[in-house]
Amino acid sequence: MSEKVAARLSLPRRRGWRSGSVIDTADEALAGLSQRPGRSIMTMLGTILGIGSFVAILGFTATAQGQISKQFSLLAATQIAVTDVGTGPSVSFPPDADQRVDAIRGVTAAGVWWQVSKTQRGGPVQVSAQQTPTAVESTETTGLQVTAADPGALVAMGAHVRTGRLYDSFAENRSLPVAVIGALAARELGIAQLTGYPAVFINGVPYTIIGIISAFSRAQGELLSVIIPATTALDRFGAPANPGASMTVITRPGAADVVARQVAVALRPNAPSDFQVAAPANPTFIQNGINRTVSSLFLLLAGISLIVGAVGIVNTTLVAVLERIPEIGLRRALGASRRRVAAQFLCEALALGIAGGLAGAAIAVLSVLASALVRHLTAVIPPGPVIAAPLAGAAIGLLAGIYPAIRAARVEPVQALQR
């Protein structure tokens, strides 16, 4: 019948969708969107937020995971804590403990340390400040703690020197009255630089400060400490009460488990039970667990954002359909089929979705980059979500546009033109 009618009336042949029809429909859709740019942008906001959140969360998560991985691999996974649990009157760690442990394959640093307040002689340790060793002792004491640590322990703690230097085996072997202090302790003591040989007084005895530590990679609490050589502490304050002394052992990545099994024997082959060795937890397991938890939580939020975005498109497109009923009626009167009207509104929703996806992905990438820049992190942006964003936007637009498009197609020109 169709072709007969067409032939009878010399109408152009139309069967299915011609490329011209697709271009025309896209053209009409874009013109429809551009007539109200403000509304189009507001409609896109939902998708921008949804897709943007999705991509940004994945980016933030990847960046954070990179950071967590770095932390695990460089810190937790390579650190072993050895505690002296021996029952003897003195420190169970032998004088050459550092050398014994250093000799184990895979160890990069090791050292013994303890809190001086836990010494057998006991009593509170008072720390006070004075500008030079020769000056009169200050009567004002601080709440700073004193830590005894051999040179290996300073390295194992990951001490970063801001000013001066760390003490070495020379000071250790001769029990010199020297100290290094953490940055927070330096602030507490009012010491900013080391010119003039400043000293710190511990129980009234001066210790020359030879270095200020800006940060400890593995012992941030020590920033509030005054750290003196272990032998000096033994001479002045006696051995620590058990369990008091600890050894921090740093290994190469992957060597911690093997080193942990050997360290007690290496320290005291005849009494390895004097030491309690704490090997790091399996970093991969913990890391994966954190990754899964963080990702699933954030992705759930992003998914909710996407749904909100889709509902936004449905609502706004539906409002647009209702507002444009006379226009739809005109198009139908001029010969637009229901399918073509539906296609136009579907195309509008599709365009909004794609544009929203693109804008969302762009904003998300910029956000991740900016955040990483500010926090001095390495930005990690998975390419998959960025590439998929406009496709996801298109899918959301299409899904969200179905119902409004059906509503538009159902508009009867007779009623529409009477409005």
Binding site: M1, S2, V5, A6, R8, L9, S10, L11, P12, R14, G20, I23, D24, E28, A31, S34, Q35, P326, E327, G329, L330, R331, R332, A333, L334, G335, A336, S337, R338, R339, R340, P413, V414, L417, Q418
Partner: protein, 247 residues
């Protein structure tokens, strides 16, 4: 009436329309008439007489519930929805009282819209649209938005949109309803000139002065065709060519 050997553009046989309601309303009943190619017919009646229903059925926007309607010899009751849409787009040009122009499209683009849905090739549309606008005297307003046009100019753009597809029938629904007297004359002059070129024209109007410009006036009363007034001599068949002479 002359030209009875020709196939009527509009052929109503006892056409009626009942809206189911409730309550059921008979909007049109027992209408029988023929409109021949090249004729200029006015349909006049008071509010509620059935003018809009008559227009909707003639324009293939609605279906009769009774009788038979043949458009250019084709029984429209046998057509599927998409064939009616296609026939409407290619063969009927509409002019509405409230212009119905897309405010975000220029005059040229508005005229092209009709050509788009009539299936005209994309590349041919601008020239055809410009030609149609020239025929209504708006060749200098091709790129003006509707907001920059007067009421009369808007209606002339609507007329250009309707005639750009070289329709079998130009169907005007109260084309001067929103215009003042001077602009009414201007628009009716355009429609008259199209008729003189052989265009079949049906004007739905309540305005007696507008109806008087047609060759025939069909008077509707309570859904029925009450009388047929002949106001002028029909255009001779020999001059009944279509606009552009291409169809």
């Amino acid at each position: 009436m002359t030209g009875s050997h020709r196939v009527p553009v509009v052929s109503f046989d006892e056409v009626g329309k009942i809206y189911p309601g409730p309550p059921p309303v008979t909007a049109l009943r027992g209408c029988t008439t023929r409109i021949l190619p090249g004729e200029y017919v006015a349909v006049q009646g008071r509010s509620g007489a059935g003018k809009s229903t008559f227009l909707n059925i003639v324009g293939l926007l609605d279906r009769p519930t009774q009788g038979r309607y043949l458009f250019d010899g084709i029984d429209t009751s046998a057509l599927r929805e998409r064939d009616r849409t296609r026939l409407r787009g290619g063969s009927i040009g509409f002019v509405f009282q409230s212009f119905h122009l897309l405010h975000y499209r220029s005059a040229l683009e508005n005229v092209q819209l009709g050509l788009t849905y009539a299936g005209t090739r994309r590349g041919a549309r601008p020239a055809l649209a410009a030609e149609a606008l020239a025929r209504v005297g708006l060749q200098h307003k091709l790129h003006s938005l509707p907001s920059a046009l007067s009421g009369g100019e808007k209606q002339r753009v609507a007329v250009a949109r309707a005639l750009a597809t070289s329709p079998r029938l130009l169907l005007c629904d109260e084309p001067t309803g929103n215009l003042d007297t001077a602009t009414t004359a201007e628009v009716m002059s355009v429609i008259g000139s199209l008729h003189r070129d052989g265009q079949t024209v049906v004007v739905i109007t309540h305005d007696g002065a507008v109806a008087a410009m047609a060759q025939r006036v069909l008077r509707l009363s309570d859904g029925g065709l009450a009388a047929v007034d002949v106001t002028a001599t029909p255009v001779p068949a020999s001059t009944g060519t279509m606009p552009g002479g291409t169809r």
